[in-house]
Symmetry: C2
Subunit: 299 residues, 2 copies
């Protein structure tokens, strides 16, 4: 690829972030036709369409590469200015990180909140299924992700975090009402809680156990704590993150469907290969906290 | 509009739900070219483009009207079959509801979990900002929503729920570090937690108080409990839902920025004007629970 003119790259980023050519023009203090001209010139130079002209506009696959490049450039520039002390009022470093909901609800937040305030850091957290966080990294929306995929996204490095353990559990009355014979016989017919339409955790577990999907009688409860509460209230069974399940098992609000049986999801940290100080600091903090909170990955 | 052929309408719904023509063809057990032909015929009949051929495909504004029609049709059909007892194995009624995160984390789930199991109901909950839940209703993605908008979506009826109260709060050390003079002077400069990019609650509050936006030094923490935990950990101040703030105020983990000062968000229930039994039952349960949990709306 020939060298990309910085103003055109920044314009593309502004259009993606603002959603329309008009909004990008306002943000950049130029006319909409200047924005449109820059994007056209950039597309001609790259030889690819970079934006789908939807509402809001969305980057094509090639556009995503340029967006990621633009964000990395901005992060490096910001970091250099801060280290050189030439930024009048540098403002805090922005760290955009995609995290799966269960990590966010258990070990992630306590890990990052003590991150030192000097240099100041702003967290921009995105909540996504662990199978889709890598997608946000690929699109250039975030600079790091907690993901279930060990395959590095282009331009990213991977560090293992550990195994997140889930316990198949339900309310004791629910179990009394639905249990008949062996778990693998009755579980596929019992009402189930899933996180959202993309959540396949329960289905994968039941397939491993019984060779079929979980019941069609299912509730979608798209928050981690809500999921746990819905299981405890007896709406259905579900795979509850171990740290959330423990206190409820002890109080008797939940019972394990089969003591000792669990489902582990490997988690990895993926981040841009960039020498940005704040990002390195956070990566170290997070991998250390994960080593404490998660089960070790088989080596 | 001339009468819409049911098979074409159902095909459109399948394409929107499955995301691609190929997946819809597989779900409907027909060829992809049959799917494509039906959509084209429907578009000619309506005289409008109904689908944007993106990946995944998305309904246009006209397409959304047809999608909503298709879902209402399916719900009515299901309800009639259940009442007539002609559904071999009727399966539970699916209720898709969009709820804002803070309601989901506080009063909503305890309200719906005791909904009787007879007739059996499946909840399909969507988590969205209260300013955007009405959009899901408009798009036909959900049949009901907890929303901040009292303006009825086309084809929907509105019932008031109450005022959700938010308390401006922070960790006591945070306040000691940032307070100087009056709240309206120091608050716009202090680090703030917001839910996500669309969350304007904190900005609206600071604008009402000081005439400017909240600080650019902001963290995005996109879960209700994570938001509360980030405020309690001292990452920034934030507007914490009253039921979540109370125990932390009592334990001293949080302090109110100005005792007595709060921000109220009116909430409404909007739902399809449809005589579906399960929906009516849930609507009654939810409005009764909201009347208990929320503050009364000024009449």
């Amino acid at each position: 690829m020939t060298e990309l003119p910085i103003d055109q790259v920044r314009t593309l980023l502004a259009v993606v972030d603002e959603g329309t050519f008009d909004a990008a023009a306002a943000a950049l203090h130029v006319t909409p036709s200047a924005v449109s001209q820059r994007i056209k010139t950039l597309e001609q130079r790259v030889g690819r369409v970079l934006l789908m002209r939807t509402k809001p506009v969305r980057p094509t696959e090639s556009g995503q590469v340029v967006v990621r490049f633009a964000r990395q450039l901005a992060a490096l520039n910001e970091d250099a200015r801060r280290e050189l002390g030439i930024a009048g009022e540098p403002g805090p470093a922005r760290l955009s990180i995609a995290v799966n909901a269960d990590s966010l609800a258990t070990w992630f937040l306590p890990a990052v909140t003590p991150v030192p305030r000097d240099p100041p850091v702003c967290f921009e957290l995105y909540r996504e299924d662990e199978t889709r966080t890598a997608e946000l990294l690929r699109e250039g929306r975030v600079m790091a992700a907690v993901t279930s995929s060990p395959d590095p996204v282009a331009g990213c490095l991977v560090r293992p975090l550990g195994l997140a353990r889930y316990l198949p559990a339900a309310n004791p009355d629910f179990v009394a009402r639905h249990r008949s014979g062996r778990l693998r016989r009755w579980l596929p017919g019992a009402p189930v809680i899933v996180f959202d339409q993309a959540d396949e955790l329960q289905d994968r577990f039941v397939r491993a156990l019984s060779g079929v999907d979980a019941a069609e009688h299912r509730h979608h409860v798209p928050t981690s704590e809500g999921f746990r509460d819905a299981v405890a209230a007896g709406l259905g069974w579900g795979l509850v993150p171990e740290p959330q399940a423990r206190p409820l098992l002890e109080s008797g609000a939940l019972v394990e469907l089969e003591p000792g049986l669990h489902w582990d999801v490997p988690l990895y940290w993926q981040q841009w290969k960039l020498d940005v100080r704040a990002l390195a600091l956070v990566a170290d903090t997070i991998t250390a906290a994960a080593a404490e909170a998660l089960h070790p990955l088989p080596s």
